[in-house]
Symmetry: C2
Subunit: 122 residues, 2 copies
């Protein structure tokens, strides 16, 4: 689709749950190729409830994260790092990673990924 | 350069000022092709001091923004929109835009842009 300008509150964008592979995790597709015509990358808000986590996995696309609220941890290539509001995380392509909530409040962070066509051949 | 993982606090990344075209504005290149090997897009933190603004301009690359703190406004194609923490802004390629602080505290927002090679022919 043609890119369309957008101004929105993140809470007003639908929060979609994952299955059992990511307990307590929702994703909001805030700026997206499908909905907004984003040319190169999709910007999402991930929210992990207390006790929740994403899967330990790796894939061809990188992640660019910014911690918005709460406290959590990220595993990169086997090592865990504490995270809080204002932290930045870059997970390169192909590197194992996992996120988890480490507190009693929701852990919210931005997660940017390239649109699928850019990494389809990776 | 090869992509390298990174965990950092945004305040620890150098804040660079602009010239007279963007009074009161600094940029922190948080995740960048040059410094981190980001494959497709650069994630920056913009901070605008009270009274400051970015230029009224347009360019071939889009912006994907998320408001981190403070209050401000964005002009898109001639119309101004109020912004506060948790707001999302998508400025498509080629569209006129400008940001300004509308309060008495620093106005901070994330600004993602594709790496230059992706829009070099645009």
């Amino acid at each position: 689709m043609e890119p369309r300008w957008k101004v929105a509150r993140y809470e007003d964008i639908e929060a979609v749950t994952f299955g059992d592979e990511a307990p307590g995790v929702t994703i909001r597709r805030m700026i997206d190729e499908e909905f907004d015509g984003a040319p190169f990358y999709n910007l999402r808000m991930l929210e992990i409830a207390p006790g929740g986590s994403t899967p330990d996995h790796a894939h061809a696309n990188e992640h660019e994260n910014f911690i918005f609220s709460g406290s959590g941890e990220v595993m990169i290539d086997g090592d865990w790092h504490p995270l809080s509001e204002g932290d930045v995380v870059f997970v390169p392509p192909g590197v194992r990673h996992q996120y988890r909530n480490a507190g009693n409040e929701p852990f919210r962070f931005l997660c940017g990924v390239p649109v699928p066509r850019l990494t389809a051949d990776a």
